[in-house]
Symmetry: none
Subunit: 240 residues, 2 copies
DNA sequence: TTCCCCCTCCCCAGAAATGGTGAGGTCAAC
DNA sequence: GTTGACCTCACCATTTCTGGGGAGGGGGAA
């Protein structure tokens, strides 16, 4: 539609004015009213495992989610993490036991059966999710998502933009680039070689290799080799 | 604005119908007409350094760009790669000698002095840029970008979505899933915990933990723990 | 019911990784 | 022309991981 709604305009304008996470919270609620849906959530997942966000899910559900570490089994997260584009929850994989259990529990906490989630990404592996959620039949939901898809993409974008304003520490951590040799080392480790094999592959001594791993580890703020490789990957410094 | 232009609607509808890169090319040209700007480009940069895209830059400039490997010094690429949000070219860093030289040469090839670029990201380090480019004064450009910012974000999004349709190697992977415990293990290892710490965190014995790591390693076809974590990440099985 | 997967626990010995420190060379930049 | 980042090599002792074993209980699926 590329929308013609002036009321939506007003809400988005409020979002642009928002100065705190609370402000975003209020915008979430306004959007929920506007769209007449059950829930609307913005959810950030950090490369260090931190999570935060805002939205209309009940406190109980949010607490339960964190407590049970549902991040690990939530098919919405799992699915969107592998996807490029917005996705309807029906198209996700709910077949695993854990997923069905998750679905059952989430229902008990008032999460609707229909959902539409927009993944948002940034540099250094930033990942966030904007979700709109409702209880209704498939047809009604199909019409809704069809009609509002574009606006939802934009809203996701603006939520993310806003969220970043409140997290200054996420931005300026200047990308500590790895040296070519460090990249080589991280890459080969990531594809399964042992230290000895990597050293051999790079035609250097294992001692030298260790220096690279150490310096990469230091630059990445990693606690061990596996962590360093994981960080290098999630920051897009190496590609495997 | 969230646009009210029905002509834009028609062009985007054409984009949705496009079945080849040529189709996108024609849409680029239609959009250039529509916005009355000099150029409009979609540029994909692959994780392995491959590039492709479509747009209205002259063949000479595209060839020159590849030949000189401008990807390395282009401040638009450099800047957007580290940024979350759309950016006006004026806000980029053109101070280096290489950047100024690049600017001069690009001008000779018909690239306008004003530009607005939208970065788009996907899983596994996919990165693309949608750029609109023109020759005019700052004020006129400010008005233009102000008015069309939202539509441009959406267009960037749709170009990317379309481009992915032509890249078959991305989608069809439905492989061995990890059990929740295995996901836990992989995730905690990825964020830097040692085996002992992970076991402690999960309140299980280290022996048990090892079973999970081993079974995850087996499922992932990995040679060691680091490899397993790397594979779990690159397959999007864990979110770090 | 039986089979298979998931979760949990245990032993051992050898292989590999780690953390700290030190040293010398090149090359580009300030 | 010194500084700093990068690449290369070395030794030490200690911790951690790895790769084989084996075992029992629970639950879903066929």
């Amino acid at each position: 539609m590329l929308g013609t709604q002036t009321k939506l305009e007003a809400i988005l304008s409020d979002l642009e004015q928002a100065a705190t996470l609370d402000g975003m919270q209020r915008v979430s609620e306004a959007l929920r009213e506007y769209y007449r849906v059950d829930h609307l959530v913005y959810h950030w997942v950090d490369s260090s495992g931190d999570q935060y966000g805002c939205g209309t899910y009940s406190d109980e559900w949010q607490q339960k989610y964190l407590q049970e570490n549902y991040l690990r089994i939530d098919p919405v997260i799992q699915g969107c993490y592998q996807r490029f584009h917005p996705v309807d929850w029906k198209r996700l994989d709910w077949s695993s036991k854990a997923a069905r259990e998750f679905l059952r529990v989430s229902g008990e906490y008032g999460v609707g059966n229909q959902g539409f989630s927009v993944p948002v990404r940034g540099p250094r592996g930033q990942f966030a999710l904007f979700t709109i959620n409702h209880s209704c039949d498939d047809e009604e939901w199909a019409v809704f998502t069809q009609d509002n898809r574009r606006d939802l993409i934009l809203i996701a974008h603006y939520f993310n933009e806003k969220a970043l304003e409140f997290e200054p520490d996420r931005q300026p951590e200047q990308q500590q680039a790895l040296s070519p040799r460090e990249v080589d080392a991280m890459t080969l480790l990531a594809i399964g070689y042992s230290r000895a094999q990597v050293a051999n592959k790079l035609s250097i001594s294992e001692h030298t290799l260790r220096v690279y791993i150490e310096s990469a580890r230091f630059k990445l703020g990693a606690l061990n080799t596996t962590h360093a490789v994981a960080r290098a990957m999630s920051r897009g410094l190496i590609v495997v």
